[in-house]
């Protein structure tokens, strides 16, 4: 008997949420005022949840490690946010968004959660517009849309290449409004270092004040982890430098199951690594695939510059292999195809680990000609077409083109971008039920920190959708299931034994880091971990590779705890000490990711096991044996027990995923 109860409501899929929402127990306004909720993380999920819960009347405390809640890494999301609005009259619907998401996730997501996500997607756009989020618009004043991978409709809303920034600033302003009204207490430059469990329920956290180093105890009737993903386990990723797994991992060690840790999204269009000094990778938005065509030379090791290679000597391999979706295949498919071409010797650039993303033909033909026609210019010259096209491209993606130029020193208006896949997002995360509650009562996980909606591969522009869906429209209702039973629980004083003990444990770990006084920096270990993970648990995985990775990680862990050097003290602002804790947790997580990848003897979505592929190199799923969520329970050092949640598909017929 499985320990996992997903608590999916009864009834037909399109009525589950509406009906359930109307039957969730309510908490009256007077009781809400005495119920305290802790929100950890201030990205889209955290800010939207905190603002909404405070509007409803709960007492909310928000924690973030950055200097301001506005800096959470949601801010860096570029391309857009999906919503089933059907504003383009192209046949979109809730069902289609639901279907695309399940299929995009390679049939490894939970139907009921995904359907709910598709249902509330339209409300998100309405809410954001009401807040003053400046989405792109048409001349007539209505909202604009663009396309993203894995879909054949235009349902992506955007604000140039800064959609995440605009959505987060919307949620942040809602949060700041509640702070100004005194309904939210904000703790910036605070890092959660443990959860506190009393009588089997999560009742608070231990946080470190990053400026003074002081450990502080906070009580909450419920705790929401909105702490993002763990892509930085690879050291190099598109995540922010500070993005980390610590909050989720500490919760995992206190009883929250970790689901599908091996599902990692490798994004196909990132700026390639340029040298050993590199500290992070930069994404070039998927939206660029609306207008950019991906190609490599037909000739191996072609020494010519991109612009000197004639049209018929270019291999537009995505258009060739996947004519139905072309350059807009899902990310996992596009990434593997790029790797395949580079491994076969067709890569470009100095490292040969890159492919071209070329805007020239659309710049001239699609936009240049359209603008020329609009302006009534007859027989425009090539220069005119390019100049006109550039204006349009600049408006759509200007910030991305500037960023590319800054980093590489090349002008993408003139030469094609060189791109290569990089770690971007993690579909895995803390296991949650339909209410977004983890296996620890009172402890919730929202946004990228949970596992629930994207299966084995997330579609572009769906992360923003999920973060805001969880925060604005799901948790405010579902938290009532738990809190309605907590109205008699008085605030627990933080001198309670459980708080004292938890703080003591945290303190011991911090002291331990400082006492090792070894010879190598935290970054040294992080880079080595990243290399193991990228080579053996990255875009392609094998049984042998994973087995050796597990051994290497265990050895690395032992070395870390013997030889790391953390300067300074605990009683001050000490970024190295912060990093040490995060890397220690990444090392443990890395091992679990390899264990999970080794257990999953199939290929699906972002998880590609070389042993399991179809003739043409497509992923080969094994629905008979692996159509389940792998939820891991922490059982002590390097010991994890697998629990399975079988996935049931009643509304979508499972098929081999095809984008041909």
């Amino acid at each position: 008997m499985s320990k996992l109860d997903s608590k999916i409501p009864e009834g037909p899929i399109d009525q589950k949420w509406t009906k359930y929402r109307s039957t969730i127990p309510l908490v009256n306004p007077a009781n809400k005022r005495s119920l305290e909720v802790i929100v950890v993380g201030s990205g889209l999920a955290g800010s939207s949840a905190a603002a909404t819960l405070a509007e409803m009347g709960y007492q909310v405390k928000v924690f973030c490690f950055q200097d301001s809640p506005r800096r959470a890494h949601s801010i860096a999301a570029q391309g857009g946010i999906n919503a089933a609005k059907n504003y383009q009259n192209d046949g979109d619907s809730t069902y289609r968004l639901f279907y695309d998401t399940i299929k995009g996730g390679d049939y490894r997501a939970r139907e009921a959660n995904v359907h709910r996500l598709a249902e509330v997607s339209a409300n998100i756009i309405d809410q954001c517009v009401a807040q003053g989020v400046p989405f792109a618009r048409e001349y007539g004043g209505v909202l604009r849309n663009r396309s993203f991978g894995g879909t054949q409709v235009q349902r992506t809303f955007y604000a140039a290449g800064q959609t995440g920034q605009q959505l987060l600033l919307g949620a942040y302003s809602a949060l700041e409004r509640q702070i100004g009204l005194g309904k939210v207490e904000m703790y910036s430059r605070h890092e959660m270092l443990d959860t506190v469990t009393i009588d089997g329920k999560c009742r608070g956290i231990i946080a470190r004040n990053l400026i003074t180093g002081k450990l502080e105890r906070y009580f909450g009737h419920a705790v929401l982890l909105c702490t993002g993903g763990y892509g930085n386990v690879f050291y190099l990723s598109t995540n922010a430098m500070g993005s980390n797994v610590t909050a989720a991992w500490k919760a995992h060690k206190k009883g929250a199951f970790f689901a599908n840790p091996c599902y990692t999204q490798i994004h196909p269009t990132c700026i390639p690594v340029s040298g050993d000094h590199q500290s992070k990778l930069t994404l070039m938005s998927e939206s660029l695939r609306n207008d950019g065509r991906i190609w490599v030379p037909k000739k191996k090791d072609d020494p010519r510059a991109a612009n000197d290679i004639p049209e018929d000597e270019r291999d537009y391999y995505l258009e060739r292999r996947y004519p139905a979706f072309g350059n807009l295949v899902p990310r996992d498919v596009a990434s593997r195809a790029a790797k395949e071409r580079c491994d076969a010797g067709y890569g470009v650039g100095a490292s040969k680990q890159a492919v071209y993303l070329d805007f020239k033909s659309n710049l001239i033909n699609k936009y240049g000609r359209r603008e020329a026609t609009k302006k009534g210019i007859e027989n425009p010259s090539l220069e005119t077409l390019i100049a006109l096209g550039k204006e349009v491209v600049k408006e759509e993606y200007g910030n991305l083109f500037d960023m590319y130029k800054q980093i590489t020193g090349e002008d993408p208006y003139e030469v094609p971008m060189r791109i290569y896949p990089a770690v971007h997002y993690t579909m895995g995360g803390l296991w949650v039920d339909y209410n977004l509650m983890t296996t620890v009562p009172g402890l919730y996980a929202l946004g990228e920190a949970n596992f629930s909606d994207h299966g084995a591969n997330r579609l572009g522009a769906s992360a923003l959708m999920q973060g805001l869906a969880d925060g604005y429209f799901v948790i405010p209702y579902t938290i009532g299931v738990y809190l309605s039973n907590e109205i008699r629980t008085k605030s627990i004083p933080t001198d309670h034994e459980a708080f004292v003990q938890a703080e003591k444990n945290v303190k011991e770990t911090l002291d331990k880091f400082l006492s090792i006084k070894g010879t190598k920096s935290v970054d040294h270990f992080h880079k080595r971990l990243g290399k193991i993970m990228w080579e053996k648990c990255g875009m392609a995985r094998t049984k042998e590779g994973l087995e050796s990775a597990i051994k290497e990680i265990q050895a690395l862990k032992a070395e870390f705890w013997k030889d790391v050097r953390v300067p300074g003290s605990n009683e001050e602002f000490n970024p190295e000490l912060e990093k040490a804790g995060r890397v220690a947790d990444f090392i443990e997580l890395g091992e679990l990711m390899c264990i999970d990848a080794l257990n999953r003897n199939e290929s699906c979505g972002g998880h590609f096991r070389e042993e399991y592929q179809e003739e043409g190199g497509e992923a080969k799923r094994d629905d008979e044996n692996y159509k389940y969520v792998a939820a891991w329970e922490y059982k002590g050092d390097s010991a994890f027990e697998l629990h399975k949640e079988e996935l049931v598909y009643e509304n979508i017929k499972i098929a081999q995923r095809s984008y041909k």
Partner: protein, 252 residues
């Protein structure tokens, strides 16, 4: 390339700070400015010295966390670029580079190059929002907004809240930051209802935080990594004057 860095070191907010000199060697022109600091810190840690504390996070120019005052200019020599997007190819072998924190009374130093910018959050909390609770928003396309207005609002909303405008200003004024938010919401129909109280409250909070006055030198715009336009300051002034003439709040 080899460089000499003069870096502001200050143990904490109460300690006295000073510039310290550090040579750095074998710097690749492809490194970002912050990656050059990573190299320096790695070296300091290995030698047993204290690494330099500096704020940074996304390293792609959008989070607004990085904040270095480089050779007398916030975010360094390039226009429209944050420190994290500044690359070493903008410097020459043998250069001496002076790096300081943002200097403003409203941004006290926490340690080395790290400053406290929570004053900006408090300004937003005083009125930089549309008062709309979650739920029940009407269909998004029921609010029609002309493309020009939407684009202009977006150009203001592109502010990343880094504080370079304050650091660049001889008066440490926060006018560009405050005007970006006031302007964004003043341009949109959603922001109209609260337009007057918003500008009054935000300006009052800005003054209370200890930011200086604006004398329209335009240094803020010149150094803004997102090139936020001075037109937003003009719009703020107009909004503020209009509010002062006609609002019901006589006390603020």
């Amino acid at each position: 390339m080899n460089l000499t860095l003069k870096v502001w070191r200050q143990k904490n907010g109460n300690a006295k700070g000073e510039l310290k000199t550090y040579p750095v060697k074998d710097i690749s022109p492809d490194m970002s400015f912050l990656e050059m600091f990573d190299v320096l810190n790695e070296e300091l840690i290995t030698k047993g010295d204290e690494p330099v504390a500096f704020d940074h996070d996304c390293r792609e120019g959008i989070c607004g966390m990085c904040s270095m005052y480089i050779n007398g200019r916030p975010h360094g020599p390039l226009q429209g670029v944050t420190t994290c997007q500044l690359h070493m190819r903008s410097f020459k072998d043998g250069d001496t580079i002076v790096v300081e924190p943002w200097r403003a009374a409203a941004f006290p130093v926490i340690k080395d190059l790290t400053v406290d910018r929570t004053a900006f959050d408090r300004i937003i909390a005083s009125g930089g929002y549309v008062s709309v609770n979650t739920g029940n928003a009407k269909d998004a396309n029921n609010i029609l907004i002309g493309k020009e207005e939407a684009d202009e609002a977006f150009s203001a909303a592109a502010c990343i809240g880094c504080g370079a405008c304050v650091a660049a200003c001889k008066n440490a004024s926060a006018m560009l930051f405050v005007s970006a938010k006031v302007s964004q919401l003043a341009l949109l129909p959603q922001g109209q209802v609260e337009a007057k109280t918003r500008v009054e409250k935000m300006v009052a909070q800005m003054d209370a935080e200890g930011f200086g006055s604006c004398t329209n030198t335009g240094a803020c715009h010149a150094e803004c990594p997102k090139e936020i336009s001075l037109e937003h300051i003009a719009r703020l002034n107009r909004e503020y004057l209009g509010a002062k003439l006609s609002s019901n709040n006589v006390s603020i």
